[in-house]
């Protein structure tokens, strides 16, 4: 069976081959422009043609992203990109399935799905564009907004602690956890490529600032000063305990790179499906004869 790491075609792709001519709805300066560029670069590096890629998203500014690529895209409903993507992957395991959305899509309305995609180790790459704000609805509190943050729905400051996306997925046992930023484009493209190559569920949190409703310290310019490359500080991505410690620093430190990569990832759900299909194949009766199951005493 084909895996995501083998280019099936010999022709080489450029990032431009994955960019559609649709003009983004995003504000000038939005971090998401960088994310779509990084994704197209990663896809070019992987080398699978656009028609073998299914790019699934939810609802929000960032979820418009599949339309800006030339892959098959599905801009679904709010918070449900992960279940839909899992159905796609199970229906056609040969596809390269990317999932993307915002922090609200992934950790608020759709937060319940994250635990389950992780425990199944579905072979998907999930990119969350985390901007700590609801941009499409014009500036309300998001699940990753800081306590005290004043927004359109927290005029006197947020009364809640934010979700920590990195710790959240580490807690559920994710095997590939990374964080990137459009402030480091080559780094982000590389992370996405690594996530796609990882055999199983890969989570990439992207600090993608909202230029309109975001705060000054979140913007790319400010990020550049704060970014700490995990590789540069000698982080060992195979060390789960250390990765969990560093995940705790979300919100105070801005690490980029692969936080955790399980050296012995569990089998993917898809592998289990294939094994079971092969083991049970010979028990099939012809579909025309399936009603024989109902002959009394069968």
């Amino acid at each position: 069976m084909m895996t995501n790491t083998e280019p099936i075609s010999t022709c080489q792709f450029q990032a431009g081959d994955f960019k559609s001519d649709l003009k983004p709805i995003w504000c000038p300066g939005c971090g998401d422009y960088g994310v779509v560029t990084a994704i197209t670069r990663a896809l070019a590096a992987i080398g699978r043609p656009p028609h073998e890629v299914a790019f699934i998203s939810g609802i929000g500014c960032s979820s418009r992203i599949p339309g800006y690529t030339t892959t098959y895209g599905f801009n679904t409903v709010h918070g449900r990109s992960l279940p839909i993507a899992q159905g796609i992957k199970l229906a056609n395991p040969d596809l390269l399935v990317l999932v993307a959305g915002g922090d609200g899509d992934g950790f608020s309305i759709g937060g319940g799905h994250v635990a389950h995609v992780i425990r199944r180790n579905m072979d998907l790459t999930y990119i969350v564009m985390d901007n700590q704000i609801y941009g499409l609805t014009k500036g309300q509190l998001s699940p990753t907004s800081k306590r005290g943050r004043k927004t359109a729905t927290s005029s006197f400051g947020s009364l809640e602690d934010p979700v920590n996306p990195l710790l959240y997925v580490m807690g559920y046992g994710a095997s590939f956890v990374a964080q990137g930023s459009p402030a480091d484009m080559p780094g982000l493209a590389h992370l996405i490529e690594e996530g796609i190559r990882f055999p199983g569920f890969a989570f990439i949190n992207v600090q993608s600032p909202c230029v309109t409703y975001g705060e000054e310290e979140e913007q790319l310019k400010a990020q550049k000063a704060r970014i700490q490359s995990l590789a540069a500080i000698g982080h060992d991505p195979a060390d789960r305990a250390l990765a969990t410690e560093r995940a705790r620093e979300y919100g105070t430190k801005l690490y980029t790179g692969i936080l955790y990569r399980n050296p012995k990832p569990p089998p993917t759900y898809g592998q289990g499906v294939t094994e079971r299909q092969q083991a049970l194949k010979k028990q099939a009766v012809a579909c025309l004869d399936i009603l024989k199951r109902f002959v009394p005493g069968h």
């Binding site: 649709l22 043609p49 656009p50 028609h51 073998e52 890629v53 299914a54 699934i56 609802i59 418009r64 599949p66 339309g67 030339t70 892959t71 098959y72 895209g73 599905f74 801009n75 679904t76 409903v77 449900r80 992960l82 279940p83 839909i84 993507a85 899992q86 159905g87 796609i88 992957k89 199970l90 229906a91 056609n92 040969d94 596809l95 319940g112 799905h113 635990a115 389950h116 759900y269 499906v273 079971r276 299909q277 083991a279 049970l280 194949k281 028990q283 099939a284 579909c287 025309l288 004869d289 399936i290 009603l291 199951r293 109902f294 002959v295 009394p296 005493g297």
Partner: protein
């Protein structure tokens, strides 16, 4: 012949019923068996109702010809579900200590009463009171002529694993029941007519298993759902079978994820299905809207139970029709189909996949608790007679500047799937133009809405999805759907046997409302009755949104769990004909 058996949870009441209906099916007889339980997970009271005949049985409802009480308190808990009348033969466990002339039946005097030492016989012949139900099957086989050889063979097969001693003990218990019956003959012979020789065995299954089997037959290779009573057996059947056909199953984390994965599998080009019941259906509605606007085929089964909210999880009701037709926001059309029996579930499920694929739409199958869980004999089905339809895939020429949502004359556009070169497009819940690109144009929205409705117009003429029975020019008419249609069909037969002129319409396509079919049917009608198991009478109200009925058309609508009896319908027909 209608038999009701009730006892405590561990008495094997259901197992006794299953042995009897299995024997009937093997001998080419027909039957329907329904089960009913107290609300406990284990223990508590259990009952089954069996209706057997040499012809197809239309409904399990009706007063009991034979009632068996292993315990009076348990029996009485089922009240109206096991009604004893003056024509009933009452059999009960003598160690209950109740005198035959002092039965706790609220003044009803059964035709005959037999007090049988069932437990003692089980202990004596099988050495365990667990064989009580086997004694009961022996009694019933002896008195009513239900296939004793088949039943004995069934007993031998069932207990074979437990060794020769257990097999022989149970065989002796069965024999003891037979002999007791022979030693105490009925005053009036009530034996089931022997089936014609050489008849082939009938199939035996329930609506949930039939639905899943039909889906696999139709080419469904993906199922995702969340366990919910009374639909779970559909997922369980898929789990046992789907892998063998190269398919897969995902037990989703919730109802939304269940239908979400199905939407995804359909986008990826596969026939896919989910199944649920009322509360789950409420959760799935946003995804139905997504599948409608993205024009993705899928089949969603709603095994209706009593509602609203948690309602009556183990009882049938027909109160989800409005939801099936109208749930999800926006102008959001979708076909709704309802089977009328376990056997009919096969054709309806295949039809649901065909409609879903052909029209690129979600299709809802409205089953109900009764059809889903009742065991029913089904005459062998010639599956080769069913045609399977696949979605309209784009031609090579159409993949140049591919327009996924092309505004065609039929409203049906070519649909590609990931992996097809040149078919790349953006599926979306957002309104789109022909190319699938998001649009905010009001004009485009209007045109796409019109397309999404127009494509269903051929359904107006699907007369094959309606059953019309009786005297076609009758002025008195019945309309009914789902499991209740069986009650109406039986009432129709009884009425016509009395010489009454009457006809019946049974829609299996409930929505869109096929206006010409109703208009033609009602052309001759002055008095009519919609018979439905819901408080509001939802089909009556839904159809009236589209069709003007004669003023004499009314409803007999009852909330779920109060089975409508053929006799009630017959009484109305007599009144209208007088």
């Amino acid at each position: 012949m209608i038999i009701g058996i009730a006892g405590a949870g561990g008495d094997g009441v259901i197992s006794a019923g299953e042995s009897i209906i299995t024997a009937a099916a093997l001998e080419g007889c027909h039957g329907i068996m329904t089960k009913s339980f107290g609300s406990q997970i284990r223990g508590g009271e259990a009952s089954c109702r069996l209706r057997l005949a040499t012809r197809q049985v239309l409904t399990p409802n009706g007063p009991l010809d034979v009632a068996v009480a292993l315990d009076w308190e348990d029996f009485r808990r089922f009240g109206g579900e096991l009604p004893v009348e003056s024509s009933t033969i009452m059999i009960y466990e003598s160690n209950t200590g109740v005198a035959p002339d002092k039965l706790p039946l609220d003044g009803v005097a059964p035709a005959e009463v037999f007090s049988v030492p069932i437990t003692d016989m089980a202990l004596k012949h099988a050495g365990t009171d667990k064989a009580k139900n086997i004694v009961v099957t022996g009694l019933l086989a002896g008195w009513f002529g239900i296939g004793r050889e088949s039943m004995l063979a069934g007993i031998r097969k069932k207990f074979a694993r437990k060794g020769a001693e257990v097999v022989e003990g149970n065989a002796r218990a069965f024999q003891a029941g037979l002999e007791f019956a022979e030693a105490h003959p009925l005053r009036e012979n009530r034996k089931l007519l022997a089936p014609q020789a050489g008849r082939q065995a009938n199939l035996l299954t329930d609506g949930n298993d039939m639905c899943a089997a039909a889906a696999i037959f139709a080419g469904c290779t993906f199922f995702s759902g969340y366990p919910i009573t009374p639909s779970t057996e559909i997922m369980q059947f898929f789990d046992r079978e789907i892998w063998k056909y190269g398919g897969s199953l995902l037990q989703a984390e919730d109802e939304i994820a269940g239908i979400g994965a199905v939407v995804g599998a359909s986008f990826a080009g596969k026939k896919a299905m989910t199944a649920t019941s009322g509360p789950g259906m409420s959760l799935k509605t946003e995804m139905l809207g997504l599948a409608s606007i993205a024009e993705l085929p899928l089949v969603c089964v709603n095994v209706q139970r009593g509602g609203p909210s948690t309602g009556m999880p183990t009882k049938a009701e027909q109160a989800d029709l409005f939801q099936a037709a109208f749930s999800s926001h926006g102008d959001c059309p979708r076909p709704v189909l309802a089977p009328i029996s376990v056997g009919d579930m096969f054709g309806i499920t295949v039809e649901a996949f065909n409609l879903a694929e052909y029209y690129q739409t979600p299709v809802i199958i409205l089953s109900d608790q009764e059809i889903s869980q009742r065991k029913e004999t089904v005459e062998p089905i010639d599956t080769s007679a069913f045609k399977l339809i696949e979605r309209r895939r784009p031609t090579k020429a159409e993949m140049v500047k591919y327009a996924r949502f092309k505004l065609t004359e039929s409203g049906i556009s070519p649909i590609s799937q990931p992996g097809m070169v040149g078919g790349n497009y953006l599926a979306a819940g957002i309104e789109h133009n022909e190319l699938g690109r998001p649009t905010a144009s009001g004009e485009m929205h209007a045109r796409m809405n019109e397309k999404r409705f127009r494509k269903f117009s051929p359904l107006q003429n699907r007369r094959d999805l309606f059953l019309v029975e009786g005297d076609l020019d009758a002025t008195v008419a019945l309309v009914s759907w789902g499991s209740v249609a069986g009650v109406a069909r039986e009432a129709l037969q009884l009425a016509r046997a009395e010489g009454l002129r009457v006809k019946l319409l049974v829609p299996k396509l409930l929505y869109p409302v096929a206006e010409p079919v109703y208009r033609d049917f009602f052309a001759s009608v002055k008095r009519g009755l919609f018979i439905e198991q819901s408080f509001q009478g939802q089909l009556y109200r839904l159809a009236r949104m589209y069709v003007d009925f004669p003023p004499g058309v009314k409803t007999m609508a009852k909330s779920g769990s109060n089975p409508i009896q053929p006799a009630e319908v017959l009484a109305w027909l007599r009144k209208e004909n007088s």
